[in-house]
Symmetry: D3
Subunit: 334 residues, 6 copies
């Protein structure tokens, strides 16, 4: 079964050894982007994955393309265009110092792309799912047009949509935008929403006063009421014990049912960037392979936890590693 992912690819540049940028004489380079991270995690688990989008027609675009391909993703629907690659600079944190991201993605070839550059119909032909999300429309009017075009093509082809909220206030604030209205329109197409009660509050302009699971269920029910197409909502809750020790749990809500996992400890954190995308990929793996809520939440949680131990934005966890996952690490595997 084929999954089509659509979004922007970014290059991440990060000082090694948790140095600050002001100290750096080299930067580690990896390729990421929310939807690409989901795509590569699904491909690592053995799914057929296509990636649709637009990247620069320069060597930086070549580098991004090689990363996607190296992950086993079908990139025939990834267009090339003049313009720059979006970049971001990450200073990894430690202890009392939080990680810090400096974005440099404005004016990218993707952000300036026109929908007709991408053959969405071909990219979606025979697909079981379109995965996209809230970053693309946040990039500006062009991004909104791209997001609409992708979703329209999915609707036309009868392909269900998974929409990852991924609300980025900074991006929306950079132009004269109405994020709630635009996101409502896009989420209205979705079968699956990745997002928690705060995302739903933002969409519906409504706050949820409860606590913990109750508030999450309340928010989910409000979303199901507002979006008739929506069948599933998946989210994580994260509690920071220290910057190197988090506790996370996962939850999937259906219209008439839900599944909430236990909270697990994540220690020895190497790189938490992309853990939300790994969660989304785990949820989708559960949806594609099993379809039950416990599998979706459990796979999402496992992949999210494992991502913390893996450098880079992407999560190249094999099916065997995922199946072996336990919240408490075992000993050396020989």
């Amino acid at each position: 079964m084929t999954v089509t992912c659509f979004g922007e690819l970014l290059l991440r540049l990060s000082p090694p050894d948790r140095h600050l940028l002001v100290q750096a004489s080299s930067l580690d380079l990896v390729v990421g982007g929310a939807e690409a991270n989901v795509a590569s995690a699904l491909a690592a688990l053995g799914h057929d994955v296509r990636f649709a989008g637009v990247i620069s027609d320069n060597p930086l675009g070549d580098r991004a393309l090689a990363a996607l391909r190296g992950s086993g993703i079908d990139t025939r629907h990834l267009a090339r265009a003049a313009g720059r690659m979006g970049l971001y600079f990450l200073e990894a944190g430690s202890g009392p110092r939080p990680a810090a991201i400096t974005y440099d993605r404005a004016g990218s070839a993707f952000a300036l792309a026109r929908p007709e550059m991408i053959d969405f119909a071909a990219a979606l032909a025979g697909a079981r799912l379109l995965h996209c999300g809230g970053i693309t429309p946040a990039l500006g009017p062009g991004g909104v047009a791209l997001a609409r075009a992708a979703q329209a093509a999915a609707r036309a082809a009868g392909v269900p949509i998974c929409f990852d909220g991924n609300y980025r206030a900074q991006l929306w604030a950079a132009w004269d935008s109405d994020p709630a209205a635009i996101l409502r329109e896009l989420v209205a197409d979705a079968t699956i929403l990745i997002g928690n009660h705060r995302d739903i509050s933002l969409l519906l302009g409504q706050s949820f006063s409860g606590e913990g699971e109750g508030r999450r269920r309340e928010a989910a029910e409000a979303a199901f009421a507002a979006f008739p197409n929506l069948q599933l909502i998946a989210s994580t809750a994260r509690h920071l014990v220290t910057s190197d020790h988090h506790r996370i749990s996962a939850r999937v809500d259906a219209r008439t049912d839900s599944h909430q996992t236990d909270e697990i400890d994540v220690t020895g954190i190497i790189d938490r960037i992309g853990s939300g995308d790994a969660f989304a990929a785990g949820v989708l793996d559960g949806w594609l392979m099993d379809g039950d809520l416990a599998a979706m939440a459990g796979r999402g949680l496992a992949l999210a936890a494992l991502k913390h131990s893996i450098a880079g934005d992407m999560c190249p966890v094999s099916r065997a590693m995922l199946d072996d996952f336990s919240a408490r690490a075992g000993d050396v595997r020989r």
Copy 2:
């Protein structure tokens, strides 16, 4: 006092920065092997150590030889032969992701060596101890012959034997073997056995139903009963709090006495490969220098704990570092 160690040298190749192999564009190279690790730890403590074995007559063998020599080990009894060096690839783990080893040691020059390639009599002349163990015979019929030849030479020379169980199920499973019978035969020669109740269960085909220290003593007594030459059994117990935080204790059993240490916390783990060999070296240091059970258990525990903080398979801890050890790290030493 001279100690002779005998076994296979391996090259370990490991992605830096806890990367996965699939992400690696370089691999860190160190030299190891259970008996070589013991040898180098003893040499670092100031003992005269000889290493007997067979390594490749190619540049990889040169590299292994340089590592042993650099540790201060007498390598005049290390033969060179055509064939490959055994390798293993280590993906260091973190948090929820356990370390994973991919072995590539089949068909090595050592595994294919004939006993007459090594002058065991010369290697053991005047030695106070032969250290060997359960990996060599697990390599196949050739390995069994090597192990028998080494131990026969020690018996002939009146040199006591320390045998480290190091049971490797994968290796035994790769050929038509009877590990318990072979290991029983070899352990029967030993004065010192490094191994816990599970090793003894395997040797004797007998399970020990108790808990904790009681079970360990029960197993030790069964081993003493089965192996009349055996005088000492040393073992550790390890409890994984997280993959980066272990708790370990050490125990030495004599025929009529035993010593059990407190459990200590080991945090900030850099590399736990070789910590069992460091334990063996610490036990032997206690045996060579003091002879009392508390010193053997305490030195073993200290060296094992320190090994977790040192990169590589080997444990180049000096006498001063060992003497300074405390279960709770002190401040910067200036």
Copy 3:
């Protein structure tokens, strides 16, 4: 137009900074193999390329797979099997010190593969060419069977064959082989042969006494006479001025025509491994795109020359870089 390549993938491990292995504390890792190098160079030029073969079902195999995929190669016909990946260790040379290779490829999953593990018919469906060569049969009887199966499938599908001589005396010497007879059988299927007068001498058991171009033509005519299917023979001549300064020329012989390039200087050599494979890829690019002898020789020479300036076994030269090639490097391209 699709090209199918078939052969063994290898991991290359090499000390950085032209160090010797005996000095190394890390090794740079790249993926190569003669046919994979051709495949990746053709893919970098924009051709549709499939790779057929067998790699290990372990993380080293994953690494090799990611490299092929990252090059844009279709790996759906690359089977996975138990067993080890072939390795080789390269000490890059400099000045008076020649590069040195230590092979560690015996007993690989590929060398031990059975032909039925690979669906050659599917791998060749619709292909314009099969590229294979003389290393596979040199691996042993199993390799001979693989080579025969691949070529039989190509004959059955009417797909022309390019056979790269790549004579490896060490490999043939390691078993009871008749290389000339086996290679003659395989070359008999080929439309294109990559090989010079020494390769032809070996095949035909005949020496060519002339000098330079005359001898090369004489050898080519002998090969055309011996192999009725053969239409083209491509070869380079290399003259080592110093280890860092070579002079190379290229030549393509057809049955009734030939093209010989001028000799060009190659300086600033970073890595000459794979330059022969880059030559083959350039020749095939000329054959696929133009078909005339000058284009084949010229593209082959250009790609071979450029490869010397690129680290690794593979040659990721884009169409634009190839078109821009001149024997004398220009200034910085901005």
Copy 4:
């Protein structure tokens, strides 16, 4: 407002990846020195900082100079002289293995400098503070003369002095010295003393029998009694939970008032060298900007805590990072 710092610059050489020196094939190089660390932290916070001292007139001195300048420090009063740069070699610790420093600073250009090499009057013209401390006089009679000259110039210019105790027993023990007498003489000039009850005990030859805050206040009062010019005493208390998890608190005593912070957890420690200097810088930032005790103790504690997460001796924390500090790290800053 300008601060003038005076002391020795050192080059720190440290094996990467927490390796031991005996394992090292490269060493990371940073520039430090207690007073230089304070200077650079103050400059990073936006203060005008001058550094007075003497460094070698060789490329190592150039390297040190570039580091100071890169931190934004005015180095016009840093003299150059023949002689060596002081070095120190740091083996970073982990878990049960404490960090270890091997000093190689004897006979440096600074230690051998004559006071007239430095134009202290110019370096202090218009300054709001002179920061110096107890390492300079510990270097030998020449160091004592330098320290006296610097403080005499400050007295002459009416510039208040902050003196950081930084008692180094090894240095004092290397020559025929009376550290208490010399330090008493120097502290007598100071308005601010960085030091705890142990430093004061040493100065006054008097022990303080209480516990915790009581003992600290008792010591402070004794110091205020002994040194009429002294207005402020700042100190930290550190509790080592493990080598990777410390708990620290800060305290500032005035003649009639004091402020004691809560103890905070510091985890994920990358490099604790220089955390005491960061504390001093934070205290001075509070003194320069606000003047109240709580600000001094809080800024000192925050800067000290953040330093543990930053590689190198220096602490390039910006005003914004300092203001954002919370004892519990927040999530990724985007």
Copy 5:
């Protein structure tokens, strides 16, 4: 004597070991920019140098600032502003493969800066020279305004101007520009022009038909005729033997005199980026220190040649290294 330089700072990101971007997993980071390179070379020679400009108020701007300061440059006139840092990606070439630059500098904080952000009058107070050039106006109308403002301030302050042609066709082509007219206007203010006959052709819309020195003198005389303020024209001629072996000569023309150096061989090239800026700095050093044409041409040639052996954009060559320069490298200096 103080020199004020004005222009854009750029971050350069470059794969290590002459890798291609498509192969890179890390990028070396250095700071450059034509005028910054001149500034740092002059500072390394001991001149007082100020840098005026605008950089980002983010950590990348901090990094650039630290590099300038580390070079000993006075950065008090370098403004900070919202917006991105200009970047460029360099693939170093080798042998037949030329270096390739991918620019990513559009929309930088500098390109979008308004002249009033910079206090040019203060930056030029008491300066002996303003160094600027042709890249700033090529950035767009904003760049033209910046360039005009800087030169107007210099005229107002009576500070002579050195203008480095640095014609960048790509930048001028990116907007609706008339480069010749704009550059003519700016060069009209200059006392010194760094540029060869091609630059002058472009300025004057006139071609110079001669060969070698004759053509250069002809062009110089045309420029002197067209620009009454112009007193000196300095240029290099470069002949590429191979990409690793160039031959360069230097020339300085005055109104009534000229000096042409011999051509020298430059081999062992590590990094030729910035060699033109090093030339300019050498010319200016000669102008500032001696004033005679031979010194200007000789210093320019020496600094340009030395730059080829130094990694990075900048040229931290000390006065002693410059004085020691000989066209033929001597042996190891001890």
Copy 6:
């Protein structure tokens, strides 16, 4: 046959990638020292080699010791003492920029050692040769005493002496010394002198006016006349074509005979430090193995040439590599 080498071990610290020290954020660490380089080259060729000397009793001394041992040298006669290790900082050159060394070796444990710390009689027992040279006495009166003691022990034991001139003007200039007198006294003991006509001029206070081989023979004959024990004089002549291309030849003079090699080109130079020591080792290998002048000169030249292609001070060239040497590098060795 055993060779005993005596001298100081040094740690060399060098910026990677031919960077300048002012640019360095890490330094590559290797171990060297003229006599240690000879020792390790002889050990790599299979000779039994002992090293006598004194190194620090700190981790830097441990590092030096591990390097010697890793080379296969018997270090039982290497004493440990308080004090520092001698260091030197190397900036590798390129093209027009010569390599530059900053020494930091004053006051080392070796320079301050007393002769009785070393058991020269034991170190020389049964040795075929003592190798020492002119650096030790240059270190000061203590070095002179060490050199005299070593040579006295050799005379007493009837062990021939090879003395490598290694004249270091800087070291002799640092104290009130009479180098010619001291060196004459020491050379008077030698059977073999490594040194050219300039060394002999210095020893004898006599200049040799001829050219090339004539002058060298004239100088040799003067030395033979002055030093009755002297039997052999070995030297190289080096001609720098560029910094990356040298031409070298070797010569050995006996009392009644001589052998002069052809001059060979050395290109692709990675590291020429230690090439003189490699020459000495090659000469001694010829002397130990064959004894004829042509073998001595040829082996010396070969090892010296190969050293240029090997990073570090030492020359780990195996017997096979030496035998394979040809002045023109061959192709890849597989």
